[in-house]
């Protein structure tokens, strides 16, 4: 039973009784205590580890809503507008024009040896190219022989070249679908919008949706990315969790150097409410320390930028129809009731305020049948909720996980096009959530936006769009609140706050190791805090060598 005492220049504990300390003692991967060396020496013989003596420790960061498929994306060519770093720590500069995208793809194409192998890319965001649409002719400049497909940052649109269309039997006239724009020649332009239009192309361009669920190397890459971002626990929010995947996750998670804890939710898809609850209960029993199962995710509506989120009156700013339901109220009610009865936690994806309202109504009725005092059902995204809805969340015992990264990436579009100025300034109302007392988490939804809780915290503190507009100053939160939200806050929504989220006796020895002090660097520079690595379950992982 060896005791290790880590010394740091400062330890931010999130424990109000001992908010800062200089030392933390660890045994068997758990925390014996945080305090002074003298206090901790009382635990007996110990090794003093001083490698962090000029670093800042805080509780391991908790990403409350991501997808482990982020680890798979990096096999493809990064085509995003913003700089982004990969699991190996390499930063890929953002691409500022269609020509730059074509140039990077061409370089990747020249390095390929298999002649027919597809070339795949991701994170394209033509919104930033003055909305100049990318076409198959652009990608034909890269290759006319090799199929090419590039996924957009939103995950809802794909661009392909002529060869890919030909292989998918879609380089033909007569296609009549809102997701497939046609050129003057009556043939698809190569922009495929929405899952239906993307599916026939996926297998030909290496972006098959089946492949995008994570595999072994993808899971390891995701965990390496976690180390680089100071994350020690991450939620994988929508997984079908077939037996083979669960076995793979358990095996990989048990590897001695696997550096993260993954909480994977069973998504309600392809099976009915009862089967989903039964599956979640069976999965929970298979949980290990680093692979946690047992909750269910329900997708209620679509996305705001895809105009498929369900909005209440007056709907979309540009007059688009009110969005799409992905579940009936009856199915939702049955699932929530069965979950309350069985004690299974539910996370609901609701982007629009009407979808949020439906969940509040349905849960209120379900709770009357099955009163439950600590269900912690969590509204995910919940971007457009107003103050009255936050008050209902509080009354019903709900948590919320908001999406402030949206302000930076799409806030200008929300202001101008999707929901208009007033609701854009109210979106992801973190300050209202805290003032109302609704337990709050904030998230990246990686790979939709980059994994990085400190960046997400910066978004919640500053609410700045990529053009520099501050979207709703009244909803900005303090650095202190933001840091608590990306640790204890997210842990609470995952029902893990008794194990992680703060540095105090009895909890897992999960730390983010930082080069800069997030409490003094200034709210406007929070995203610049450098991450050295993590300690996860007492094991030290340096980002440089991971």
């Amino acid at each position: 039973m060896t005791v290790t005492i880590f010394e740091a220049s400062k330890i931010i504990t999130m424990n109000p009784a001992r908010p800062v300390a200089t030392h933390v003692a660890v045994r068997d991967g758990r925390i014996l205590g945080a305090g002074s060396l003298t206090e901790l020496a009382g635990w007996g013989t110990h090794t003093l580890d001083r490698r962090f003596q000029d670093k800042i420790l805080m509780p391991g960061l908790v990403e409350g809503h991501s997808h482990v498929s982020e680890g798979v994306q990096w096999r493809f060519v990064y085509c995003g507008f913003h700089d982004r770093s990969d699991p190996d720590g390499k930063t890929w500069p953002g691409l500022r024009s269609v020509d730059a995208v074509v140039a990077r793809l061409s370089a990747a194409e020249r390095a390929m040896t298999e002649p027919l192998q597809p070339l795949s890319g991701w994170a394209l965001d033509p919104i930033y190219f003055d909305n100049r649409r990318v076409t198959r002719h652009d990608l034909d400049r890269v290759s006319k022989e090799r199929p090419i497909g590039i996924m957009h940052a939103s995950g809802h649109i794909m661009n392909v070249n002529s060869k890919a269309l030909e292989l998918a039997q879609m380089l033909r006239p007569g296609i009549d679908h809102p997701g497939v724009p046609l050129g003057d020649d009556g043939l698809p332009t190569g922009e495929m919008k929405g899952p239906d239009a993307m599916t026939p192309l996926g297998r030909h361009v290496g972006l098959d949706r089946g492949l995008l669920a994570s595999d072994e190397p993808g899971l390891r890459a995701f965990a390496r990315l976690c180390v680089r971002k100071g994350v020690t626990t991450a939620a994988d929010l929508a997984n079908l969790l077939p037996d083979a995947a669960v076995a793979m996750m358990a095996r990989v998670g048990a590897e001695p150097m696997f550096p993260a804890r993954i909480v994977s939710l069973r998504v309600l898809r392809g099976i009915g409410p009862q089967e989903a609850i039964d599956h979640a209960i069976a999965l929970k029993k298979q949980s290990t320390d680093r692979m946690r199962f047992g909750a269910v995710k329900i997708v209620v509506d679509g996305s705001i930028q895809g105009f498929s989120a369900r909005l209440r009156w007056p709907g979309y700013y540009n007059g688009a129809p009110a969005g799409l339901w992905y579940v009936t109220p009856e199915q939702l009610a049955e699932t929530l009731e069965r979950a309350l009865e069985a004690g299974v936690q539910i996370h609901t994806h609701t982007n629009g305020d009407e979808a949020t309202e439906l969940v509040l109504d349905v849960l209120e009725a379900a709770l009357r049948k099955h009163p439950s005092s600590d269900h912690r059902f969590t509204l995910q995204h919940c971007q457009l909720a107003n103050a009255a809805q936050f008050r209902r969340m509080k009354s019903l015992g709900m948590c919320v996980n908001l999406f402030p990264n949206h302000h930076f990436y799409w806030g200008d579009e929300h202001y101008r096009l999707t929901v208009g100025p007033e609701r854009a300034e109210r979106m992801n109302a973190c300050a209202t959530a805290l003032a109302t007392g609704v337990p709050l988490a904030i998230h990246s939804d990686a790979p939709v936006t980059p994994l990085g809780p400190l960046f997400t915290a910066w978004c919640a503190v500053n609410r700045m769009t990529s053009s520099g507009r501050v979207l709703g100053e009244a909803e900005c939160i303090s650095v202190e609140d933001a840091l608590r939200t990306i640790t204890l806050g997210a842990a609470y929504t995952l029902k893990l706050d008794s194990e992680i989220g703060s540095i105090e006796v009895g909890k897992r020895a999960d730390f983010a190791v930082l080069e800069d002090d997030p409490t003094t660097i200034g709210g406007d520079r929070l995203r610049d805090v450098r991450v050295w690595g993590t300690v996860q379950g007492g094991r030290v992982f340096a980002a440089d060598t991971i």
């Binding site: 879609m170 679908h177 599916t199 949706r209 099976i271 009862q274 339901w325 579940v327 439906l358």
Partner: protein, 318 residues
């Protein structure tokens, strides 16, 4: 591009409890020799009567009479691609859409998959509750959009509605489903030939003359053969004219300009397509009306206006 035979697909929409599942089982029990593939969202609430199931393999149930049922989960188009790949063992696909799906959007997705063609969007409504549903705070616009997508609107559970309110209900529905023909039904019992049209053994191949369907009290059919070349577009428009009141018309004609074409009319929608195998010597048409007899003289008039002035034989049903 050479015309190839295409697998007809019926999209079956409507809110929960309207009677879609009952209709699916009714179609399977009265398949008329068609090998029907039923595609559903999920097996959560199994949509197939147990006695029809013969076996299971992965996400496919084998059913009696060469029929199958498969799930597509959240990936409709991938499911349809799988079905298109099995086209030689299937005569007709029926997609049972989820209660909140927009069946018209599913119909549009069919054009993404080579080898599939939309036959009709059939929407089932519960006559007793549809108006209440359409006023629901959350579901109102979804129900309204489902109705607007329909080619055929099956007004189910008509027996549960007071006789004196049926007329008002149908007027209300007709206003919201402007492109649909209304078909009254109890327990989702509607003839398969009306719901699915001509497919499988009844498919019009251009060689064998179309078989007249059995007329019942509920519906009436007329089968026609003719030698003349026609203005196919004018003919199709005439057959789809609400005044004529046909539920369906299908056949093949020799268009004066475009050669041999198949004509498919469902409700007020019509389509013309090059014939896969233009070996016919005479044009053929079969027309169906539901709930009323076909007005023979009005039909003759439509044929005449399409320049079919030498009708060889008109075969009314026995």
């Amino acid at each position: 591009m050479a015309a190839v035979a295409q697998l007809p697909v019926t999209v079956l929409g409507g809110y929960l409890g309207a009677g879609k599942t009952t209709l699916v089982n009714h179609l399977l029990r009265h398949a008329g020799g068609r090998r029907i593939a039923v595609a559903v969202n999920d097996f959560g609430a199994l949509p197939i009567d147990k006695d029809l199931i013969e076996g299971a393999e992965g996400n496919v149930l084998t059913l009696s009479g060469g029929c199958i049922c498969c799930t597509f989960g959240s990936d409709l188009v991938a499911g349809l691609m799988e079905l298109a790949a099995r086209a030689d063992t299937i005569d007709h696909v029926v997609i049972e859409a989820s209660g909140v799906a927009l069946p018209g959007a599913i119909g549009q997705s069919l054009s993404l998959v080579a080898g599939l063609v939309l036959d009709a969007v059939v929407v089932v409504v519960d006559a007793e509750t549809v108006q209440e549903r359409a006023a629901d705070l959350y579901m109102s616009d979804t129900i309204t959009r489902q109705l607007a997508d329909a080619d055929l609107l099956i007004v189910n559970k008509i027996d549960l509605v007071a006789a004196d309110t049926v007329g008002r209900l149908e007027a209300w529905l007709a206003q919201r489903a402007p492109t649909a023909r209304l078909i009254r039904a109890e327990m989702s019992a509607v003839a398969t030939d009306v719901v699915l049209g001509y497919s499988g053994p009844r498919a019009l191949d251009g060689k064998t003359p179309p078989q007249p369907l059995h007329s019942t009290a509920a519906y009436d059919t007329v089968s026609i053969a003719f030698a003349e070349r026609v203005d196919a577009l004018r003919l199709a428009k005439g057959l789809a004219d609400p005044a004529l009141g046909l539920v369906r018309a299908k056949g093949f004609v020799h268009d004066a300009v475009r050669g041999w074409l198949t004509v498919n009319v469902v409700g007020k929608r019509y389509s013309l397509a090059p014939m896969p195998d233009a070996a016919a010597r005479a044009g053929r048409l079969v027309c169906i009306a539901h709930g009323r007899p076909i007005d023979r003289s009005a039909l003759a008039n439509v044929l005449k206006l399409a320049a079919v002035d030498k009708v060889l034989e008109v075969i009314p049903c026995p």
